[in-house]
């Protein structure tokens, strides 16, 4: 997550997801923003906090097998720039989604629920907690 251009690729991917949802005629703008937020948080939760191990063999005698991607990042060092970026981005998306859904209660609850599901596992005190 530190290599060159990966943050830009991530932002482009989220933008592309939003444009794709926007271009589905039946969806309204508030619904599109909530869907963007929910899909983004689901995928982030899956890839960063659910899947354990690495998709290729590593020479670390299986140490990474039991760690999620988030726990393997930067060898477990907390508060690195990548971690900060990946913590802030769902929050920004949540703020945008809340604004565009005009703070409607239902959307607000759904967005807040999915935001917490990706924020809590990122807290340092949950490192390695199962």
């Amino acid at each position: 997550m530190n290599s060159r251009g990966i943050w830009l690729a991530y932002l482009l991917l989220v933008t592309m997801l939003h444009v794709i949802l926007l271009s589905i005629p039946v969806l309204t703008v508030p619904l599109v923003w909530t869907l963007t937020n929910v899909i983004h948080n689901l995928v982030m939760y899956l890839f960063l906090h659910t899947v354990k191990g690495t998709p290729f063999e590593t020479p670390d005698q299986g140490k990474a097998c039991l760690l999620t991607h988030w726990e393997q990042m930067d060898n477990g060092i907390q508060f690195t720039s990548s971690r900060k970026f990946l913590t802030i981005s769902p929050i920004v998306l949540y703020i945008l989604a809340s604004f565009y859904t005009k703070y409607d209660a239902t959307h607000f609850l759904v967005n807040t629920g999915t935001l917490l599901s990706v924020l809590l596992p990122k807290l340092p005190l949950f490192h390695g907690v199962r």
Binding site: S3, R4, G5, A9, P55, C65
Partner: protein, 501 residues
């Protein structure tokens, strides 16, 4: 060059950054492959796609899983599709040209069938054959044949027990003379020379400072030793000095006792980067902070320096400044195995403490003879100038090949004098395409991708050899320029240097 006063020549090393557009497209490519990989795993899980990989039977499902199936996700979904570029069977000596066995696959490379045909005279740009001693004719081959008749092909015991032959003694004295050190010891396997001797040199209470791109054998040896390992950025002396200072100021973790010893592990030439270690600066740091230096010259011995004496010879340094000189006979001597050179008491200690000396069978006599003959040729002790000619040929080929590729606009990594020439490809599909296109033009190249390299730095790696004649290289470069025209649209081959120039 930082600290230019330490160097006897200009030190030119380039690692041009990946263009941002290419990086983003590379991630997109890996993203698409991963998504479709998950889709295919889903189809396999529900039996809609045939599953070729080994899996437990139904009855074994309740046991601990034998295969961590996520761990070979990349292997089965990415690598399989382009693995015809790797492990190609050759049926000749891996010299300047070689013959490949042609093979075909009906199921996207899950299984191969030999078509029975040969791809003859493929230009070999992949093998480590820097001085062209990979030959089945000539002086080395004759000497090896003769020693086979005299000694047989194997030694049925370890050095420690009964396996010491006079040819081993002769080899070790010759290696010591070639390196300019007091004594040396030879081992039957290059990888084992690192992984089995580092544990004999360092242990609990020691600190190992290792370059981040060190070879797996150095990493394994460091781990087996039980020392604390800290990694510094590749060839970055500021990072190394910072680690040295921290180590000396803070001492061991928790107890804060001073370290028993600090061992710096570096390689002479990094075979994936094509970079050459900044040895003068490393030696200056080790002297200043009283650390020990372990120099792995696997690729540089025989390939660098006016006498072929490796990176120490290349920078015209004193071999005594390097505490442990390690190297292999695989890349420049057309043989196999490794050596460790240094002070007499060090080698005597290793003779009685090294795993390899105690457990591994001794080096095969014909292999030893191949090394002795090729090393004498390089040193000029065979009465001919063949060694000097080959060293010069390698140096010229390297400079010519690198310059031509750079002029064409490819992004080339590493040092201008390094015979390992990594050429950047970046995207995953181009790894497969490039290897195949080159083989169509009768050139065998090595292509390398993630996870052996960083995800946005997939590359083709050319190994220049003294056996390559100028017209072979021109053919190679000509084919590269064809690939360049194919790759023109990709525009990733146009390094920024060329655009600006």
């Amino acid at each position: 060059t930082t600290n230019a006063s330490l160097y006897n020549k200009v030190f030119v090393e380039q690692f041009e950054e990946t263009p941002l557009l290419v990086a983003v497209l590379t991630y997109m490519g890996y993203g698409i492959l991963t998504i479709f990989g998950y889709l295919r795993d889903f189809l396999r899980h529900w039996g809609m796609e045939k599953c070729h990989v080994a899996r437990e039977r139904e009855e074994q499902k309740d046991f601990v899983p034998l295969y961590q199936d996520f761990e070979n996700f990349y292997t089965r979904n990415l690598y399989m599709r382009i693995r015809d570029n790797w492990n190609r069977p050759i049926c000749s000596v891996p010299g300047a040209k070689m013959d490949l066995l042609e093979r075909a696959s009906k199921d996207y490379n899950w299984t191969f069938q030999h078509t029975g045909k040969l791809v003859k005279d493929v230009i070999n740009m992949g093998s480590y054959n820097y001085l062209g001693f990979a030959e089945n004719t000539g002086r080395c081959a004759d000497a090896a044949t003769e020693s086979t008749h005299h000694y047989g092909i194997g030694v049925g015991s370890t050095r420690y027990e009964m396996g010491n032959l006079d040819i081993h003694e002769e080899l070790e004295q010759l290696v010591a003379r070639f390196l300019g050190v007091e004594s040396s010891m030879a081992f039957g396997m290059g990888f084992a020379t690192n992984s089995m001797n580092i544990p004999a040199l360092a242990g609990k209470g020691c600190l190992i400072l290792s370059d981040e791109l060190n070879h797996a054998s150095l990493v394994l040896g460091a781990r087996l030793s039980g020392s604390i390992i800290r990694v510094f950025k590749h060839n970055n002396m500021v990072s190394l000095e910072k680690l040295l200072r921290d180590a000396i100021v803070h001492g061991q973790p928790r107890t804060r006792r001073p370290w028993k010893k600090i061992l710096i592990l570096v390689e002479g030439i990094y075979s994936m980067e094509g970079s050459i270690v900044r040895l003068p600066e490393v030696i200056a740091l080790k002297k200043r902070y009283k650390a020990f230096l372990y120099l792995d010259e696997a690729h540089s011995i025989g390939a660098l320096g006016p006498r072929g004496g490796g990176v120490v010879d290349y920078f015209a340094l004193d071999p005594k400044d390097v505490d442990i000189m390690m190297g292999t006979f695989t890349k420049s001597f057309g043989a196999a195995g490794g050596y460790i050179g240094g002070k007499r008491e060090l080698i005597d200690y290793l003779r009685s403490h090294s795993h390899s000396a105690i457990y591994a069978t001794s080096m095969s006599p014909p292999v030893s003879q191949q090394i002795i003959t090729s090393m004498k040729i390089i040193m000029g002790e065979d009465g001919t100038t063949l060694g000097v000619v080959r060293l010069r040929q390698l140096s010229e080929n390297t400079t010519y090949f690198r310059r031509k590729l750079r002029e064409m606009g490819f992004i080339i990594y590493g040092n201008d004098d390094s015979p390992v020439v990594p050429m950047m490809l970046y995207m995953p599909a181009k790894i497969g395409a490039f290897g195949r296109e080159m083989l169509k033009r009768n050139i065998g190249t090595v292509v390398v991708g993630f996870p052996a390299t960083p995800i946005i730095e997939s590359r083709a790696r050319f190994c220049v050899s003294a056996a390559h004649t100028r017209d072979i290289l021109d053919t190679d470069i000509f084919c590269l320029s064809i690939c360049h025209s194919i790759g023109y649209f990709l525009s990733v081959y146009l390094s920024l240097n060329r655009i600006f120039s």
